[in-house]
Symmetry: C2
Subunit: 108 residues, 2 copies
DNA sequence: GAAACAAATGAATACATGTTCATAGGTTGT
DNA sequence: ACAACCTATGAACATGTATTCATTTGTTTC
């Protein structure tokens, strides 16, 4: 199985992706580096809110930051994160199976 | 990009996996169907807590339930979920890259 | 150096959520 | 039908967290 540390680390990552605005921020960076201002205007969120979220995402390396002049650009740090996200998004599009009836005998 | 509905749906899934106990519950079902009692004893959680979590996991189809006699067994519903989880777990083991310095010029 | 711009931070708050306790529902055997 | 077992549910509470507002830090340009 998983050690407690692994579980906590993985859960922390999931937890951060589990907030729609934060997920949108990360998803918007899939196409390439974006400045805080660009993220803010694209998503229609307040600068402060975006910045708070970015700090959390940076902390768990879901995003990395780099300065270019006055602005700071955020991007996906490595291919693992990128693959993970694209995989999840692909799964979204795939067909769902039927509901299972709890009373059905062979339901296991 | 992603529609608002897709974002919310994906975030909901991530959110549920973002709680260590809940993630452990799902992970423990990767090896095969488990009854509520087995999950409870394996993870050392209260029966009530496990049941509450199971209800949420069922609701988003991260787990499915099936009755066998007095007990109810929970399992991974389809290969999508299973692949997703195993992929994430594999990513856990892979090496991390170095920290980026914010002041570095070519950091983008 | 001052003004202007971009991003980060801290405090405060309203809201969501994980957990526990007690109780109810449903199933099997006697 | 009753008792024993397994699971689900509801209320209550304590904790965590997303968001806003105001302020600050850092960078560029004049």
């Amino acid at each position: 199985m998983l050690t407690a540390d692994q579980t906590n680390g993985l859960a922390e990552m999931f937890r951060l992706l589990g907030e729609p605005n934060r997920l949108s921020i990360v998803a918007s960076c899939l196409d390439g580096p974006l400045s805080v201002g660009e993220i803010t205007s694209r998503l229609g969120l307040s600068q402060s809110l975006v910045s708070h979220h970015l700090r959390l995402l940076r902390a768990v390396r879901l995003l990395k930051a780099g300065r270019r002049g006055k602005q700071i650009f955020y991007s996906i740090p490595d291919c693992h994160v990128r693959e993970m996200l694209t995989n999840m998004i692909e799964h979204l599009a795939e067909p769902h199976e039927q509901d299972e009836d709890l009373t059905e005998t062979g339901a296991i």
